[in-house]
Symmetry: C2
Subunit: 206 residues, 2 copies
DNA sequence: CTAGATTTGTGAAACATTTCACAAAAGCTC
DNA sequence: GAGCTTTTGTGAAATGTTTCACAAATCTAG
């Protein structure tokens, strides 16, 4: 498949969110103009984004909300179920396991690991926190698709190396560290420090 | 000042992080090549990014680590102190107030608000959780520079409208909602659902 | 069924970002 | 200090993304 820009994929996610709102409100069709207005973009952008994947609209009428929701779910790969391992049972990890957005989008946390003996063995949302050293055996018992790294920055690269060696090809990283991984592994990093500094820059330069 | 791309600002933040590492290791000078290698980019990109703000290097030698750290801090506006109000005392909020990266970068949380009577009045990291209805008076007593929105998606827009009316011009939004604000207000959104779906897309299309 | 109004889908143009490539500056060696 | 090496800073080229603008398709009203 032709390479699609990251920015396009993110907008598709947003469109999906808005379409679900519209669906909830009982709206049956929507124009690129209306969808753009909801998301702060332009109608041409919406049509271009969708055109990379096919033509889903009807000229003169717009898009069927239900149909487009389905198409976007397919494009984004949300039809299936993903098993997730969380590595790090600290504060952020604690917040994440309780985040409902995971489950509603088909992402299920099936393992939690930590190195701290005080945490290992504890129950967390129905899951027992395991020793990271048991990762290999646990992954064999119940394989996962995605690793979420929620460790301190210092430990993040070592954890990444480890899960990659165990065959994981998708990582969501919350540690404020730049991970180096092989080309075939996808990493998305959420770095709070970067956001704060981007805000600081914007506040300073105007 | 000439408009600088968001992507450039984010890379500057990364460079700063790496330079601090180098400084910690006692390294005194660094080439654009070495900096690029650490961050997975190219030396030309590093030089171009820096060139928007001046010339900080010495030909044949590279950059003084200490000097470049100082310059980047200035550019990013990290010399000053920012006061932050957190709106929403839920799970994510709880994780955030304990995040050390805030304080070490000069961001100090000085207010926490919520609507839940069960939470109002509680002590959180030395701060008392206040009723959101007291926001106006609290801001008057102790003004803030940045609002961090950590409410459910449904409440986020109303909270944004409110803080904007109270004069806030910078928002860090963790609610999975697209906020609409006036042009002079800066918003950075951290949307976990978007990251998950970008991962899902990457896993699906290859 | 016709005429007018909408709205899509998409090449082409405009704009933005990244990469290239090289002169100029500075360091290093003998 | 001459000659060789390294590395910056930056126009120009290449590449990538967004916006424009319009033909084609479909709908709506009478």
């Amino acid at each position: 498949m032709r390479k699609i820009a990251e920015s396009t994929v993110r907008r598709l996610s947003l469109y999906l969110r808005f379409l679900e709102e519209f669906e909830h409100q009982g709206i049956e069709t929507v124009s690129s103009e209306a969808l753009a207005a909801r998301g702060g973009t332009t109608s041409a952008q919406v049509r271009k984004d969708l055109s990379f994947f096919g033509s889903f609209g009807k000229r003169g009428l717009g898009y069927s909300v239900a149909e487009l929701v389905g198409k976007l779910r397919d494009i984004l790969g949300l039809g299936r179920h993903y098993r997730v391992a969380m590595i790090g049972a600290g504060k952020i990890g604690s917040a994440l396991v309780q985040y409902r957005g995971f489950k509603t989008r088909g992402f299920e946390i099936v393992h939690i690991f930590d190195t701290d003996p005080a945490k290992i063995g504890r129950e967390w949302n129905g899951l027992t926190v395991r020793d990271v050293r048991q990762m290999a055996t646990e992954f064999e018992r119940l394989p996962v698709d995605i690793a979420v790294i929620v460790t301190p920055a210092e430990a993040a690269q070592a954890v990444a190396d480890r899960v990659v060696k165990l065959g994981i090809t998708a990582i969501l990283n919350f540690a404020p560290a730049q991970l180096t991984v092989p080309d075939d592994v996808v990493v998305k990093t959420v770095n709070l420090a970067l956001e704060l500094e981007a805000l600081s820059y914007a506040l300073t330069n105007r």
